[in-house]
Amino acid sequence: MTKTMTFAAALLAASVLGGMANAKTLVYCSEASPANFDPGTTTGGNDFDASSRTVYSRLVEFKHGGTEIEPGLADKWEISDDGLVYTFHLHPGVKFQTTDYFKPTRDLNADDVVFSFDRQFNKQNPWNGDKYLPNLTWDYYTGMDMPKYVAKWEKVDDLTVKLTLTEPNAPMLANLGMDFASIVSKEYADQLEKSGKMADFSTKPIGTGPFQFVDYQLDSVIRYAANPDYFKGKEKIDDLVFAITPDATARTQKVLAGECDVAPYPNPADLATIKANKDVTLLDQAGLNIGYMSYNTTIPPLDKPEVRHALNQAIDREALIKALFQDAGATPAQNLIPPTMWSWNKDVKFDSYDPEAAKKVLADAGLKEIQLWASDRVRPYNPNFQRAAELIQADWAKVGVKAEIVNYEWTKYRAEGKKKDRPGAFQVGWTGDNGDPDNFFATLFACSAIGVSNYSSWCDKDFEDLIQKAKKTSDQGERTKLYQQAQVIFQKQAPAFLLAHSQVYAVVRNNVSGFKMDPLGIHRFDGVDKSE
């Protein structure tokens, strides 16, 4: 009997959903299965594409295709003069999605916002620990130092939320645009807690975003429908489908065959085929990352900027990039931050290749031997540390410097490399989190990051003053000026050899409009349309 019922119900569902076949459907061939659909608990870009960027919204949002902040669920906000208190005014009448597993009885309010953050740090919150999901680590919340900066979240009234900080921190606004800061429904959470189905919160998501969740067949297909109540207006696509396709060549073939409309990260070897096809377009952009090599600026003769410049000049960077990135290509780095990030200083140019000049300086400084560090891991900003080390070694040999390559497994590599007294040149890199320049400059080269992630052990007073001031100033125009000055100092002092920002690609069918590459590496489908 039960079997017959299940069968009948399934049949009904199939026929209802079968009727949706004529609707406008966009198929995205995603690169991996999402871990789950709760963006507070996950860390992967593909997790976020499938949850926070489709189902959820945040207080503030990144501009589509950029790193600037614009209003999201908060229409406007005020920041107190001391930079400690942020007051957010919520958009009135925002509805959570209505699905077959949840029917909201009220609109979004301040309780939802407070709950969305409280659950990530408050050990008393039942959603913080094992009761919800086993082994939760809330990696992004702790990784972005939120526990250090956030004093408290408070509800002022239904549509007003107040955030108090422990110290001024301008990048906080960008943090709130990040995926982990997605706003979830407290009403839905309460309902699941009562019915004892808390784990459903991570598999059947409810948010206020442009698309609502319909179904997920493990490791295969995720289905969404346009959210009819979306507060920024219903999307033009009716159905959004993620077809999970891990192999890069198969993904490209699917776009070429018309089985999907958009696919990220094509195989570099397929780029020529894609460019030759008239039905599809290859989109590219410099990724929000940087590959570089840190000199330990405290150990002579590397403590002298001219010696570091000379080492930079001795490297044939163009040939190096070509050998490492091959067909995929990469943008040679002029600054620590990529050109897609606000405050990028276009007047700053990285050292040009000049082995003759380098040879003289290095001979005068008496630099004959140096350690050159390499690891085994493939990173987006450097596909092959070992090969890079060998090429740099050859370039340096030409100017009379003998480099000894030091190898470690990746986790040990970084643990050894960040030690204050680590000698020589250390290859490393960074992928940005929130599009804020502070996330590059302060994370990688602040004095306080020595021994943590400042692999150059570089502490320059002028540079430090500028980036600390920029961190505490909330005016973006002012911050831009400060970071641009910081880039000039960085170039003069040369604490590192800057390699490149790797190129990121996506393949899109020509009948799709409105899809943009995103410097943050996310794939968004709001504002995307498709013609037949």
């Binding site: 299940t6 069968f7 399934a10 049949l11 569902a13 199939a14 959903l17 079968g18 076949a21 459907t25 198929v27 991996a32 299965s33 871990a35 789950n36 608990t41 996950t42 860390t43 992967g44 999901l133 086993p134 082994n135 939760l136 680590t137 990696d139 702790t142 990784g143 784990a199 991570s202 598999t203 179904d215 067949q217 493990l218 490791d219 295969s220 297909v221 289905r223 489908v241 077809a243 999970i244 396709t245 891990p246 192999d247 060549t249 198969a250 073939q253 699917k254 065959a257 089985e259 085994d376 497994e409 990746w410 986790t411 040990k412 970084r414 643990a415 960074w430 992928t431 943590v452 992630s453």
Partner: protein
């Protein structure tokens, strides 16, 4: 017979212990600290590191970790995935039908072509057909699955447009799983176009996964057939004046098939190993792709328990083959 059975089952126990040790050790022998690997680019503070180590039980002595692990597995608790937080066994159950379905069709493909080809090669021994078939079988056996799969996709799906590139069924079909087998489910729903779509999605991956077993089966059939064709009873049958077709199909083939059946049973391990690559290329939502994803995500719990579950299945199938063999061939029981 009972003694034979008990003997076989007794042999399973040390194998099982060995597998748990292998799965446990394998994950721990991988380079890199699991906690640091999980933390990613940001790294973790030393205090948080200790906290996480305790949370995941990595602070315990290694023997205690192993004892804990075996204890859990013995009670049917295969742990919870680090990344998805779902029970490993639940994910396995959801995904296994896809692998089973693919393996089944791959095996059908291998047998339908492999057995007749082997027979024909044996009958025409030394002919150009025999020579080229055995050559092709050797090539098939040595074929790198990854390359072979991509080649077929680019030619049949990309260039000719005959088959879909990847996936299990056309995206317009939205069938809530009943059995988890796409072909059976589409029949149960009475959706014939869905069945057609599911079958067309099976063609390329089944060929790719079936290629190695096909080569093995063809070679095995040929050699078994050659052996049987030289037997006295075949000569007798021929002498009786039976037609060549009848001698081959009734007298020779039935006897030649016994070792072939064993070979087929033993191919299960090959199929599951091949599924790892095939499923990844064809975006086939089975346990092979699941294992690869988990390795990339450094989801140690899934890798460890997945290895164990797959090993258990291979062992179970081998045990069944042993038993079947004893049923087919009574001489084995006494041995």
């Amino acid at each position: 017979m009972l003694r034979y059975l008990l003997n076989k089952i007794a042999l399973v126990i040390p194998t099982l212990v060995g597998i748990t040790i292998c799965a446990f050790a394998f994950v721990r022998l991988l380079p890199g600290d699991p906690i640091l690997a999980m933390a990613g680019e940001h790294g973790v503070s030393p205090a948080r590191y200790e906290e996480l180590k305790e949370q995941f039980g990595y602070n315990l002595p290694i023997w205690e970790q192993y004892a804990r692990y075996v204890g859990e597995v013995a009670t049917g608790d295969f742990g919870v995935s680090i990344s998805s937080k779902r029970p490993v066994l639940e994910e396995f159950k959801t995904l296994f039908p896809a692998t089973l379905e693919l393996s089944f069709f791959a095996m059908i493909f291998a047998m339908v072509i492999g057995i007749p080809a082997g027979i024909f090669a044996a009958v025409k021994r030394g002919s150009w057909f025999d020579q080229s078939l055995m050559g092709t079988a050797l090539v098939g056996y040595s074929m790198p699955i990854f390359w072979w799969g991509l080649l077929l996709i680019i030619f049949f799906s990309g260039y000719l447009g005959w088959t879909p590139v990847s996936g299990r069924i056309g995206l317009q079909f939205f069938l809530k799983p009943i059995t988890g087998f796409m072909t059976i489910d589409s029949i149960l729903y009475g959706k014939w176009d869905a069945l057609r779509s599911a079958l067309s999605h099976l063609v390329l991956p089944a060929i790719v996964l079936g290629t190695i077993p096909l080569a093995v089966i063809a070679r095995q059939t040929r050699s078994a057939m050659l052996e049987v064709l030289g037997e006295d009873y075949v000569r007798t049958a021929r002498a009786k004046g039976l037609s060549a077709a009848r001698v081959i199909s009734v007298h020779a083939l039935r006897n030649a098939l016994i070792p072939v059946v064993t070979t087929i049973g033993l191919q299960v391990g090959t199929l599951l190993a091949g599924a790892i690559l095939t499923e990844t290329i064809f975006a086939w939502p089975g346990i092979g792709k699941w294992m690869v994803d988990s390795i990339f995500k450094r989801d140690y719990v899934v890798v460890q328990s997945g290895l164990l579950l797959i090993a258990l299945i291979v062992m179970a199938v081998n045990l069944i083959v042993d038993v079947l063999y004893a049923v087919i061939n009574p001489r084995i029981r006494a041995a």
